[in-house]
């Protein structure tokens, strides 16, 4: 990297599909994965004579987002036509917003290695999605599926406040987390519910005017955003350092080649000739609706994280992991409510064993076969010393395979109850000391490390069922001459 004297300036435009049942201007379904064109009605197809009717829930979800980023909600908002020709846009224009977007200036705070940075959000506006063009298997033609046409989108435009690809990814992740908390978007990036365009420019450090920017279109993963921006930054710096200049243009990121390339065809069509859509009246939003939606806002991720740290004495990382989704946070609180086990240990279980099992099975927490109540029962048995933490892992594995069973049943069936009978433990310890005179000698001559060997031997002999504290105490007593 030779970017030391260069400052990188990035702004992101993020398209979130709003999780409504029907489309923004028609009563067709928005469900993903339907047979092509079975969810495209006369309005979505742009048939002559049809009129758009705005979906209340799309408006509500946009306002909810605006409230969450402390933005001004426009009391008066206007839809405009953005005119361009493309086969997946049957009307020849996209209904969008230009001059009076529904959400005005707001902000989002992002975390960067423990430091907080405020990123401005310029605006967020409602618009309709286009259809999909398919280029394979149509013997030289393109296939058009209009199921997606008319799906409500909220386009969220950031200020050019981001200074590195890492910051851009942090912002994008934060926004992704927020829209899922608010339940306004399912956040499914594979299905295109959350997509990003990045505006990238560079300038000599210290210069106040912005350099010429390029726009990278339609990046659909966090990883690709970082790679696409890094590639584009390098490309721009190289051009400038070689005496060239940057052309303002739209570029496409090719993940296979890890490079961006110019989309020249987009350029000539860049004159969108916006004008207010005569088919739609201006939208007015009253204080009552705003107040109602504000009252319904959930606890937001940042507040929840802070509360988790304070209320449960969790460190930053644990609180961060547990509040990464609303479902995970709810699950954690449900567990903690039903066990006397220390909240920190509960957190370790959830971020450790449970998360690992979920990842392995490619499941989200809300689809976990083992419920919070079942986990709480298991953790309670650690708390009351029926089993050790180690045995609990074994019980958890069985529970994962048989989610209808309970921790108590598994402990009883497999005879895993911890042995606290000191007589039984003592007998084993005596035998192990007798069998390993060399190690005893080493320990007594000051090699403390050998202690772990004895603990291991005792646990092995007792199949992990001995109470570890008890074992430690008795071993020290026996080994000390």
């Amino acid at each position: 990297m030779n970017s030391a004297p260069w400052e990188i300036v990035i702004g992101l435009e993020i398209h979130t599909q709003l999780a409504t049942h029907s489309k923004i201007f028609s009563g067709a379904a928005t469900a993903y994965g339907a047979q092509p064109n079975t969810q495209a009605c006369a309005v979505d197809l742009g048939m002559p004579g049809v009129l758009p009717v705005l979906n209340q829930d799309a408006v509500n979800k946009a306002i909810t987002f605006g409230l969450a980023i402390e933005a001004e909600i426009a009391p008066y908002s206007v839809f405009a036509r953005k005119n361009y020709f493309y086969p997946d846009l049957p009307k020849g224009y996209q209904i969008s917003q230009l001059e009076h977007p529904i959400v005005g200036k707001g902000y989002l705070d992002i975390d960067l290695d423990g430091e907080s940075k405020r990123i401005g959000i310029t605006r967020a506006h409602l618009e309709e999605d286009a259809g999909k063009s398919l280029h394979e298997n149509f013997h030289g033609l393109s296939g058009i599926d209009l199921n997606r046409a008319g799906t409500p989108l909220l386009e969220i435009v950031s200020e050019p406040d981001l200074r590195s690809a890492k910051e851009a990814v942090a912002y994008m992740r934060k926004l992704h987390e927020l829209v899922r908390y608010l339940e306004i978007c399912d956040g499914n990036m594979q299905e295109g519910s959350f997509r990003c365009d990045a505006n990238v420019s560079v300038r000599p450090a210290g210069q106040t005017t912005l350099g010429t920017r390029t726009e990278i279109k339609n990046i659909n993963s966090f990883k690709f955003v970082e790679k696409a921006i890094n590639y584009e930054v390098e490309r721009q710096i190289e051009i400038i350092e070689n005496g060239g200049r940057i052309i303002q243009e739209t570029r496409l990121y090719d993940a296979n080649k890890d490079e961006t390339r110019s989309m020249r065809s987009k350029e000539e069509a860049n004159d969108y000739r916006y004008f207010p859509d005569p088919d739609l009246l201006p939208v007015t939003i009253d204080e009552q609706l705003k107040a109602q939606l504000k009252a319904a806002l959930p606890e937001l991720p940042a507040a929840k994280k802070q509360r988790f740290q304070a209320q449960y004495q969790l460190d930053h990382d644990a609180a961060h992991a547990l509040t990464s989704s609303r479902a995970m946070a709810d699950y954690f609180e449900e567990v903690v409510k039903h066990t006397t086990l220390d909240a920190k240990l509960c957190a370790n279980w959830l971020t450790g064993d449970l998360t690992a099992a979920l990842n392995k099975a490619d499941l989200d927490i809300q689809d976990s076969p083992v419920s919070a109540a079942r986990i709480a029962e298991l953790l309670q048995r650690i708390s009351d010393q029926t089993i050790s933490g180690k045995i609990a892992k074994q019980v958890f594995d069985t529970l994962w395979q048989h989610p209808n069973s309970t921790a108590d049943t598994i402990i009883a069936e497999q005879g895993l109850k911890q042995i606290t009978d000191s007589g039984a433990i003592e007998a084993i310890i005596d035998k192990i000391i007798a069998d390993n005179p060399d190690q005893v000698e080493q320990y007594r001559s000051g090699k403390d490390k050998v202690f772990a060997f004895f603990v291991g031997q005792v646990m092995k002999a007792m199949q992990g069922k001995a109470n570890p504290a008890e074992v430690n105490k008795m071993l020290i007593a026996k080994l000390t001459p």
Partner: protein, 95 residues
């Protein structure tokens, strides 16, 4: 004239309108006249006037988020010149 024939060509291209060369002069003349009228209107002081987005003094009615449409693919595709496996086929477009 406020517009050149090249402006008109460009506007026609953006709107995908086919204009014959021998009509260009006439279009340029008529469209320029319309813009002249706009220029005249621009001389009026409108500082106190709120721009309006729609001639009707009403606001948009909203509908509840319910799915009310059924699948009418066969019906719609009956009108299309070229369909296959449920998709509409068009000349290849690719970036």
């Amino acid at each position: 004239m406020l517009l050149t024939t090249n402006d008109v060509k460009k506007i026609a291209y953006l709107a995908r309108l086919g204009i014959e060369d021998h009509d260009l002069e006439a279009f340029t003349h008529d469209l320029s006249n319309m813009l002249n009228l706009m220029t005249q209107m621009n001389s009026i002081n409108t500082d106190e006037v709120e721009p309006m987005a729609h001639p009707l003094p009403q606001s948009q009615r909203l509908r509840a988020d319910n799915v009310t449409e059924t699948n009418q693919r066969e019906h719609f595709q009956h009108l299309a010149p070229h369909v296959e496996d449920g998709v509409y086929l068009v000349p290849k477009v690719i970036e």
